[in-house]
């Protein structure tokens, strides 16, 4: 939604009359169901907002066209001690307000994100401090040997120190103390676009930054982003010509949009894997006082064999998902082809395994799912509950909004539950180990809602955390993920698709991390 004041309109009319038809501004109008919540990069933890702010800010290192890590505001780096990394900074870079970019900005930015009031503090949890060496050299000191520093830094945007000082934003806003800063509503970065206006729920407008330090690979002058929460309305707005791009597009509408003349659909697998966590507690919440049947490996295998993943993929995911046997996507370090073998769909085998485990008549259990978090999450769960019921695992399904679902999952209220994992923002399989597979202690196991526990994985997780040799580290991840598969720690369901729809003439590359990177976008 564009806004201007009365004077602005008069000016625009005058300028328009003068300019005539000479310069045709290239404007991209696009929509997604989520909105960016704030312009302060350290005041949120949402990957969508991070992806939007990447148009305005640059990190020290960034993901390139093939998601490889490449220099951005830093041109090179090396480790000077196991816990100290030295970064050489890019020269002649200017912020949107004209201020030059120097080491002071990096130190101020890192200090700001490490502030106790910073919401995104956890994204840089391994870092202790940043130190200026000279105007274009910075040392970043970690709390110990830490292999994933570059991955973490790719999500940390650099802000202008002078601007923060002038606007009282050197510390981030803090909800608990009731402090909000100018950084929530205005953004001064070094990135390819500048924010022209920011109106939550109504729209955000970006204009091109002609002085960007990098060579632009896009031809956009202006981006109008308008979030639309309702799927049907978003598709309607694309089809009626009010939008150029919608990302994501609802899977069930892809065929219809693709067949409409003047529109096209692009898709590829996302990094996000959907999986089911199974209870490893001594008793099920649904049957207190009785031994949890799922402690028996054969029962877990039966529940895996019971699911017809082909049917799920075909019917629920419209053939757009990828079925998987392991817990990380192929692009993510830790993935191994051997771990990715599918468990065949075999109801008879499943029933036999249940009988062998001593449950010939099955048992009762529950499945909890969100209904507004992952692609077609509720539909997937209804289908799985139906499939489990068919082998005798009578499943009661409960779905609810993410606002109540995730807090309850964190409190350990669920026996079996759905969770999606993308290993973002680090894009490394270690997050799967540390959050999903490790026990809940020492800061590990934050999302291990089924209380899965395995000494071998505990040991591998702690070793991989400090292993600087990349070869060795990856093989630890692979071993741990093999163990997880062998013991059916989780049942992987599928790899979500990223599906976007747009009018013909929009050329945009797609990325498995679901980021919309408009600095690679060209329109006709």
């Amino acid at each position: 939604m564009s806004t201007m004041n009365l004077g602005g309109i008069a000016l625009a009319v005058a300028v328009g009359a003068l300019a005539g038809f000479t310069a045709e501004a290239k404007t991209l109008r696009w929509s997604s169901p989520t909105d960016l919540t704030t312009l302060d990069p350290y005041a949120h933890t949402e990957s969508f907002t991070t992806s939007m702010l990447h148009h305005v800010f640059d990190p020290l290192v960034r993901h390139g066209r093939n998601l490889e890590l490449e220099p951005a505001l830093a041109v090179s780096w090396k480790t000077v001690r196991p816990d100290t990394w030295r970064f050489e900074l890019r020269k002649n870079v200017k912020f949107h307000n004209g201020n030059p970019f120097t080491a002071d900005d990096v130190v101020a930015s890192i200090t700001r994100i490490l502030d106790p009031g910073s919401r995104a503090r956890g994204d840089l949890v391994a870092v202790d401090r940043a130190e200026k060496v000279d105007d274009f050299t910075v040392d970043i000191v970690t709390k110990g040997p830490y292999p994933l520093l570059l991955n973490d830094l790719s999500g940390i945007y650099i802000m202008d120190k002078e601007w923060m000082e002038a606007n009282g934003a050197l510390k981030p806003g803090d909800v608990s103390r009731g402090v909000s800063t100018a950084a929530s509503t205005s953004a001064v970065g070094t990135g390819p676009f500048k924010v022209e206006s920011f109106k939550p729920e109504a729209g955000t407008v970006f204009v091109v930054n002609p002085n960007w330090w990098d060579k632009p690979q896009h031809n956009l002058d202006r981006i109008e982003f308008k979030p639309i929460k309702s799927d049907a309305t978003r598709v309607a707005a694309l089809l009626s010509g009010e939008l150029d791009l919608i990302a994501p597009a609802p899977l069930q509408d892809l065929q219809r949009i693709g067949n409409s003349s003047g529109f096209k659909v692009i898709e590829e697998p996302s990094l996000r894997l959907i999986m089911l966590s199974l209870s490893s507690r001594p008793e099920l919440k649904t049957a207190p006082g009785q031994k949890n049947p799922m402690l028996d490996l054969r029962v877990r295998q039966a529940m895996w064999h019971a699911i017809d993943f082909e049917a799920l993929k075909k019917r629920v995911m419209r053939d757009k998902s990828r079925n998987t046997g392991t817990l990380v996507a192929p692009q993510v370090p830790g993935f191994a082809k051997d771990n990715d073998q599918l468990f065949g769909y075999d109801q008879d085998k499943a029933k036999k395994l249940l009988a062998e485990a001593g449950y010939p008549n099955g048992f009762k259990t529950k499945l909890n799912c969100p209904n507004d978090r992952y692609i077609n999450d509720e539909q997937t769960c209804v289908a799985i509950a139906s499939m489990w019921t068919k082998i005798g695992v009578q499943t009661e399904l409960q779905t609810e909004s993410r606002a109540t679902y995730f807090p309850r999952r964190d409190r350990g209220e669920f026996d079996n539950s759905m969770v999606g994992w993308a290993n973002m923002p680090s894009m490394d399989g270690f997050a799967t180990l540390s959050s999903l597979l490790a026990e809940q202690k020492d800061g590990y196991g934050g999302s291990n809602a089924g209380a899965y526990s395995n000494p071998k994985i505990e040991e591998l997780t702690r070793k991989a955390a400090v292993e600087l040799d990349e070869e060795k580290r990856r093989s630890m991840l692979v071993d741990a993920l093999k163990e997880a598969r062998d013991t059916v720690a989780y049942i992987p369901v599928h790899q979500q698709p990223v599906a976007w729809a747009m009018r013909d003439g929009v050329e945009i590359p797609q990325f498995p991390d679901e980021y919309v990177r408009l600095w690679f976008t060209n329109i006709k």
Binding site: M1, S2, T3, M4, N5, L6, I9, D35, T37, T38, D40, A43, H44, T45, S47, A120, G122, D123, G173, V175, S176, G178, V179, S180, S184, T185, P200, E201, A202, G203, K226, P227, I228, K229, S230, A232, T233, R234, A236, A237, L239, S240, G241, E242, D372, S401, R402, A403, T404, F406, P407, R409, W421, M424, A431, S435, G443, G445, G446, S447
Partner: protein, 323 residues
């Protein structure tokens, strides 16, 4: 008179206190913002720390005390989601919702009154029956179905009207209006109609019932007997008498319209308070939810109190009773 006024005011304050308590306690249970505020791989320790720093680990009574003290001093807190003052967020969204409500009210009055008169004067006519039948369907169709059907027809198939948002808005001070641009006006139409539909039916039926009532009263019959022209009787005498309750009901319904705008705003991505509220619910953004509820409650209490006092002024019998 002063006594009535003071007692009504006292009651209104009491009602607001209860509303604030109920809304606050309710929201404590609706969701937990910590999960939405934390990154995906946050540790249990991080989440506990965040919960503590937000004061969510304290007893509900203590939290309510803080909430009330801050609210009374005009501070509604900071949104967990946007990290901006809640009053600012509400002020930003207020124009969008109010303009939508105004358009819906005007539409329902402009169409509802003539249609109601038509149905009352010619109850047997084809037009009246058609209108009656349509009004039944209007009152029986869920808002979200109406909205999506309108989008399908007018935005996608015909391409006449925008399907979402407010179009171009112009800032007049802090008030952003869509009334001054063509795209702003066309954007108001579909959501306005959707929101107006129920109200329109209500007003139409009310006018019809009141008119039939008034037309059969003695003084209209006397007027007829005196040979006054039908036009004069229908519009100067009957309609005017029927309009009083219409105005009262329209006033009382404004609060409901603001609340019902939640559904309309969701369907049309209308950046008003309803959308703010729905987004806040899915994030468990407690300060925003509480502020929204207080605001809607306050609107209702003000309207009800004013209506009550006006009635007491008009009707002395009520004064005696409530004293």
């Amino acid at each position: 008179m002063l006594k009535v006024f003071l007692s009504r005011l006292g009651q209104a304050i009491l009602v607001m206190l209860v509303v604030s308590a109920v809304s606050f306690v309710m929201f404590r249970f609706v969701g937990d913002p910590v999960a939405s505020m934390s990154r995906e791989s946050a540790t249990i320790e991080e989440k506990t720390e965040l919960r503590r720093s937000l004061g969510l680990d304290q007893p509900v009574v203590v939290q309510y005390g803080h909430f009330l003290a801050r609210t009374l001093s005009g501070d509604l807190g900071i949104s967990y989601r946007n990290q901006r003052p809640v009053t600012q967020l509400i002020a930003e969204r207020l124009p969008a919702t109010l303009e939508l409500v105004i358009v819906a009210t005007l539409l329902s009055l402009a169409l509802g009154i003539p249609l109601g008169v038509l149905c009352a004067l010619k109850p047997n006519g084809v037009a009246a029956r058609g209108v009656q039948a349509l009004s039944l369907i209007g009152i029986s169709t869920p808002t979200f179905v109406t909205g999506i059907v309108l989008i399908l027809v007018f935005a996608v198939s015909l391409g006449w009207l925008p399907s979402f948002g407010r179009g171009q808005v112009i800032d007049l001070g802090w008030w952003s209006t869509g009334f001054l641009t063509a795209s702003g006006m066309t954007s108001l139409l579909l959501p306005g109609i959707t929101l107006a539909l129920y109200q329109l039916t209500l007003i139409m039926r009310l006018v019809r019932a009141e008119m039939i009532d008034v037309l059969s009263s003695d003084y209209i019959r006397f007027a007829k007997a005196r040979g006054l022209p039908a036009r004069y009787i229908h519009f100067r005498l009957a309609l005017r008498n029927a309009l009083m309750p219409v105005i009262t009901v329209t006033g009382l319904q404004i609060g409901s319209l603001i609340a019902f705008a939640i559904v309309t705003e969701t369907v049309f991505q209308w950046p008003g308070m309803g959308l703010l509220f729905i987004q806040a619910v899915s994030f468990a953004d407690i300060p925003v939810m509480a502020a929204y509820l207080l605001f809607v409650g306050l609107m209702f209490v003000i309207i009800n109190t004013v209506v009550d006092i006006l009635y007491a002024v008009v009707d002395p019998r009520l004064r005696a009773r409530s004293a």
